[in-house]
Symmetry: C2
Subunit: 469 residues, 2 copies
């Protein structure tokens, strides 16, 4: 056991310190140059280059490989003309927080320590921002997918108190109602939860692209008449294809009248609450939801991954997940103390210190600056919509309401044009199909984006469309 | 829009660079001094100190608050005499990787980029290490809790192909068999999945503290005779209370004969495969499992959080989770390309770059050095067991087989003594109840621990026990 106790820490801390600082400089260089570093295809032999060997290597050599062989081939969402899917742009100040969190290596599943207070502060702040009642609380998650499972699990426990013990096998069938174009994470949650994707009821849209309330009422009544139990109505705050917000106040009225759970899928759309009007009003009514799912890694720019689930009834939330085997029983004093163990509010018993990157972002940047960046993104999406309307080869599919813009092209296929622009490094659009028409799709959630970027990207699209004739 | 595009990045990169380097020095100082930094109670006013305000602050000031008000109050698991629960100790080289991962800000849910190749490399390496067949693959998770949901979901799809669509409502009841003292994450998974905790069947232990095969066979036969379907048998590799390993080869024989899914809960115990004999043989037979759940953040020391789910049948794994709405449809070229989208293998659509901290750890340290540290921990647990046996005031509850040691005390209560030692900063034990007797419990998963630490900790325990007379 001669070298026990020090094998996996650096042999020479001074060398390690020097190499780490050098690596940090490379990271800062990269963040500073984000504007000049679009996505680039990874080399064909990358899999070979990163295959894991047997024996250890000098950490300096490993850092060099990280810098040369891995770092350049990131997803590209740090670039200001990355508009594909919904990818947050990353905040440098939160990179520093991630380094600290890894240094502390706290386990946020439970026990009495400082990191728990930071997560509590983040959740309290988010509850207040959302306008939920004083009874609300929540938990940080890997993202909205996990948050949706947590929220719908709480809805299920509210309906059937014994479900944790006895399962859903002998219960009536349940349904979740969501507008056409609502997010697939709801179906995935219901698959995992044992209800199956058939439990999703898709509700038609009204002429503004929102969930149609009459159709919702008809569907719920139809199901209830058949003995089917409505588990939840999902109101979407920011549809993934159109950026449209369901009428959350009207949904809340309906859910209150019918004693239904209102879950709000606000993965990116939540953050419009920080924007100037009119965008700041898009999510009005969200404070009346029974649960809210949102992501910090999208519009807020906190590095991947980090989302949250808020639940208006904290006791119900706890009752949905709390369980402590013998070896986790709490105590009055010491590490086993503390009244807040986050394992009682979610799926995981071991949990990382995601809260610090959120806390650091909000404390360092402030909600005013973040709100201004979000407002800019909405203005940029509106500008993109105007440019599409003015173009002779592009056409807007529907009015831009928030930070998303989808448009059709006169010549060529959106997928081909998106791929060409990605490969050229000019801009990243993704594609979708709206009303049967293939579209170019841009979701603008990047604080580095400027209106110049919108002009550059749209000019590149027009050029490629014209070249496709 | 005068300052659009730069609000949330540093105003002055040189200042930010300087402050970040200073923060890094503090982090390295902390890692280097891990031996002198035990857990300490957080101050009573911590919640007030970290409450989130409205307005932004200079990032330097925020870093100072992180260093002064948050960092000292970590969970304490970086300290070499932290033996509580099962908390990994943290690897400095992986702290560097976390900084790089946050800089890249890659989303590992899908798309064609380099980070995916790193996760593929980690999964391939882990599959090879586990000895699973060539058909195996997997996914990184937040930990074993999530991995268990993924594994049991795959088991469910193998049994009932339509379950993703139609749910479990019309299916027969299912059961999962696990030895007494098996981990609570299995019950939690079954709650989330809609089966309820009643679906857990606890199997008695044999005289070596392992799952008793006759009892298992009886339970399965009894259930099948009643029309209940066995969903899976869970073999535990490293019980959370005793460190005991179920006889995995015998379980695999039984499961093969009866066409049952064998899931292996190897949260920390997996890593004994890297240890010298006899510990290196503890998990023999794990290569025959249908699924394996393990954590990188425990015995491997990768910073929180990171686990993995391996599934022997990759196609089944994919069939359990794959689904792509319109806006995620893949393409031949560009970012929307790539044949491996990890969202098809798990619950989450947005996923962080956890793989890099694992990759960096393995590449920099090598499996030999990691295995030597793991071997040391097993020797240290054996030493702790000897000291307990030799003590006039302590008694070993059962033989130490791996890295876990539980012992009773003659005077006082384990919870009180554990709390006193935590508060004094001398050592962190947790507590549990074994065979009705309250015990001190130590799980040694820390590469910084030495045999001296074991002597110091046990002397402190004896002193406190004697003081309790």
């Amino acid at each position: 056991m001669s070298d026990e106790g020090r094998r996996l820490d650096p042999e020479d801390w001074n060398t390690f310190r020097r190499d780490f600082h050098e690596l940090l400089d490379t990271c800062i260089d990269r963040m500073q140059a984000a504007r000049d570093l679009p996505w680039q295809p990874k080399p064909a032999d990358m899999a070979d280059k990163v295959a894991i060997g047997q024996s250890g290597n000098d950490s300096k050599d490993v850092f060099v490989r990280v810098v040369n062989d891995i770092m350049p081939y990131a997803t590209g969402n740090t670039h200001p003309r990355f508009f594909g899917w919904v990818h947050g742009a990353g905040l440098p100040v939160s990179v520093a927080a991630e380094m600290v969190a890894a240094t502390m290596n706290s386990n946020l599943g439970g026990r009495d320590h400082g990191a728990v207070e930071v997560e509590r502060a983040v959740i309290n702040w988010l509850c207040k921002l959302s306008g939920l009642p004083e009874t609300a609380f929540g938990i940080l998650t890997s993202g909205t997918s996990q948050a949706t499972i947590i929220a719908l699990s709480a809805a299920r426990v509210r309906l059937f108190g014994d479900v944790r013990k006895t399962g859903i096998g002998n219960l009536p069938a349940m349904r979740v109602y969501i507008a056409e174009g609502g997010h697939s994470c709801v179906a995935k949650a219901l698959e995992v939860m044992g209800h199956g994707s058939d439990a999703v009821v898709t509700i038609a849209l009204n002429d503004q692209g929102q969930m149609d309330l009459n159709s919702l009422a008809d569907s719920v009544a139809h199901d209830q008449a058949r003995g089917i139990v409505p588990l939840a109505v999902v109101g979407t705050a920011g549809s993934v294809n159109t950026g449209i917000y369901d009428p959350l106040n009207a949904l809340a009225d309906f859910c209150t009248d019918n004693n239904l759970w209102l879950h709000c899928d606000a993965a990116f759309g939540f953050w419009s609450v920080l924007a100037d009007k009119p965008w700041g009003d898009l999510a009005n009514g969200i404070h009346r939801a029974d649960s809210i799912a949102t992501d910090f890694h999208k519009w807020l720019g906190v590095p991947y991954d980090c989302g949250a689930c808020l639940i208006a009834d904290r006791d119900l939330h706890r009752d949905t997940f709390a369980s402590r085997p013998e070896y986790l029983v709490g105590q009055a004093d010491g590490l086993a103390g503390g009244e807040l163990w986050f394992c009682d509010y979610g799926i995981e018993l071991s949990r990382g210190f995601k809260a610090l990157k959120v806390w650091t972002a909000i404390e360092a940047l402030g909600t005013d600056a973040i709100g201004a960046a979000i407002t800019d993104n909405c203005k940029q999406a509106a500008l993109m919509g105007q440019l599409a309307e003015q173009s002779s080869v592009l056409a807007l599919v529907q009015p831009v309401v928030s930070n998303l813009c989808c448009f059709t092209i006169n010549h060529g296929l959106p997928a081909d044009i998106a791929a060409r622009l990605q490969l050229s490094g000019e801009a990243v659009f993704s594609t979708t199909t709206l009303a049967g028409r293939p579209c170019m799709r841009a979701a603008i959630v990047n604080h580095r984006t400027t209106s110049d970027d919108i002009h550059i990207a749209m000019a590149a699209v027009e050029r490629e469309v014209l070249n496709s004739r």
